[in-house]
Symmetry: C2
Amino acid sequence: MTEIQRPGALYQQVAAAIREAILSGEFEPGAPLPSEAQLIERYKVSRPTVRNAVAALRAEGLIDVRHGKGSFVRSDGQPSVTLDRRVNRTSNGQFVLPNGAVWEEAEEPTPYRSHTTKATGPLLELGEEEALLGCDRLLVDPASGTRAMHRTLIPFEVAEGIQALAEAPDSRPAAVYELLTKAGHKLSWSETVRARMPLPDERTALQLSDATPILHLSRVTHGTADRPLILEELRVGADRAELAYRITADKEPARRTRS
Amino acid sequence: MTEIQRPGALYQQVAAAIREAILSGEFEPGAPLPSEAQLIERYKVSRPTVRNAVAALRAEGLIDVRHGKGSFVRSDGQPSVTLDRRVNRTSNGQFVLPNGAVWEEAEEPTPYRSHTTKATGPLLELGEEEALLGCDRLLVDPASGTRAMHRTLIPFEVAEGIQALAEAPDSRPAAVYELLTKAGHKLSWSETVRARMPLPDERTALQLSDATPILHLSRVTHGTADRPLILEELRVGADRAELAYRITADKEPARRTRS
DNA sequence: TATCATTTGTTCGTATGTATC
DNA sequence: CGATACATACGAACAAATGAT
């Protein structure tokens, strides 16, 4: 048993003690922590203090708490899904990763009309409140059970120019890219990766446990005119997925002067 | 004033009410929320309930709480730093981003001996407890104040083979790559992006506010023998930084058969 | 099926400490 | 220094989920 003498708030001392106990191996990954009552005994503190300490460890992502069962040391397993971000291969139009994994669609996608926001507008090089065609999908990796939210946003102007696109805005990305290519565009992509804490509805949709950030991937496809044609977004729990980029040491491309 | 009648825990109803008030614009970004005492008044609940609700919004990253001052709506500003992950250009050996930004080293780096772990071992295609040379740096972007933790890990075997590397394992990455190239290696990179909640020491080192995940970038450099030569890691708060990858639609590379 | 003990979740009350202005 | 606001800590009670009897 670790003694509690260090400075700082009492609950933080308790949290530090439990943290060290975990890291030292007293509690192994997956194993249950002592119950609140036992922790009260062990550290001679009140229940609110113990709960505060447990909450701190939970926010750190070190433990997992389940109502009615107890607290468990989170096994910091490697992500079960690696999203390999090489050139997207268009096969039969399904959601296919380069490693062969296939995402299933959990629900039927329904296209909708929307507008650009502060976040999506700049990516599409549009102002705010510009008309968009959107389509959301909830994807599931059957192998690992990992869920992901996929979104396609097409500027209204772009969809207008291509009849097949305007008629079926809920096509899968691969099909959309094919349509764009057939329309004479030479495509190039650029992806932006961010991480943030999930909103309540994202938490439930992706079935995320505590202290799990979201990896938010935005892929903008440019066409021949160097204008953004379509924005593809993928949101996935960071505990289950990682992104892999292969940056081969090619010849240095022509360098555009920029600040 | 929003009424509280929906199902769920009381503090969650309060949290939802405040959340909607924020999203509806009643409390603008940067503006202070009502004090705890005022929220108690407003929603007719006890102090613990209010604190619980505030804690929930804090974990969501929606608000920022400062001791003695109050709670403030977090302005969901765009990241101030974009890490542009194109081919790394070696200039004078400083930490330079393609967009021209330069990171300053906040402290003098000190090389150390270490070992592979469950996380770093597989990336370097080594087992666990293999000898490594490490070097940590705390970087600061003077323009935005953004901090980042940089780490270089070189397998002992690799360092042994190149004298200049063994003598100065604390060289900057650009210099290390130069040494490897001079040693006859043709380099290629591969990066893996993950996100997770920070550990306590990472929180303080990066000066992260609440509910801020860390973007964890691992860059493995392979040499001619297709063997990992060096692992470079960058950890940065996800509220300040984002990663940008440019994936040009090249010819499809030769495809290795894999599961 | 029903009941019970265990464990965590929620909510109240109260008091005191500490940071900010 | 005082006023305000958040942080910490204790005590107590009941609710809800879980698993075993």
